[in-house]
Subunit: 77 residues, 2 copies
């Protein structure tokens, strides 16, 4: 995995913070996955260790949970 993956669920509170982070890292260095719209990717996120969104999974596989929008359980509901 050479890109970071940014998982979110459209959390309106965090949009501006998320955009800041993506801009800092560089848009071409981050894949953005909207788990609310792509629920089929929730298992992949869980396997990476994502517990809540928004979260950034780095190329080294570390999960950074950023602020707190919603738990994955909430996104599934």
């Amino acid at each position: 995995m050479s890109k970071s993956v940014f998982y979110h669920a459209g959390c309106p509170v965090c949009v501006s913070a998320e955009e800041d982070l993506v801009n800092l890292i560089g848009k071409d260095q981050v894949s953005i996955v909207h788990l609310g719209e792509n629920q089929s990717r929730i298992p992949e996120a869980e396997q990476m260790g994502v517990k809540s969104v928004p979260a950034l999974v780095t190329p080294q596989g570390n999960v950074l949970h950023i602020n707190f929008g919603a738990s994955l359980e909430d996104v599934k509901a």
Copy 2:
């Protein structure tokens, strides 16, 4: 403010995650402040809106609380 500021307190659990993030953004784009060693900068962090460490304050002034190492109250103690 043109650089991001990364506030931490030496949280051993988060060191690897922090290094990942700093590498992603670019070391020359981030000022790193160890609040445990520089307690005089805690008021500045609080004024920015930092509630816990590690946290990244973006050039736009957004505070991203990343995972959870310790509250600022704990760092003061």
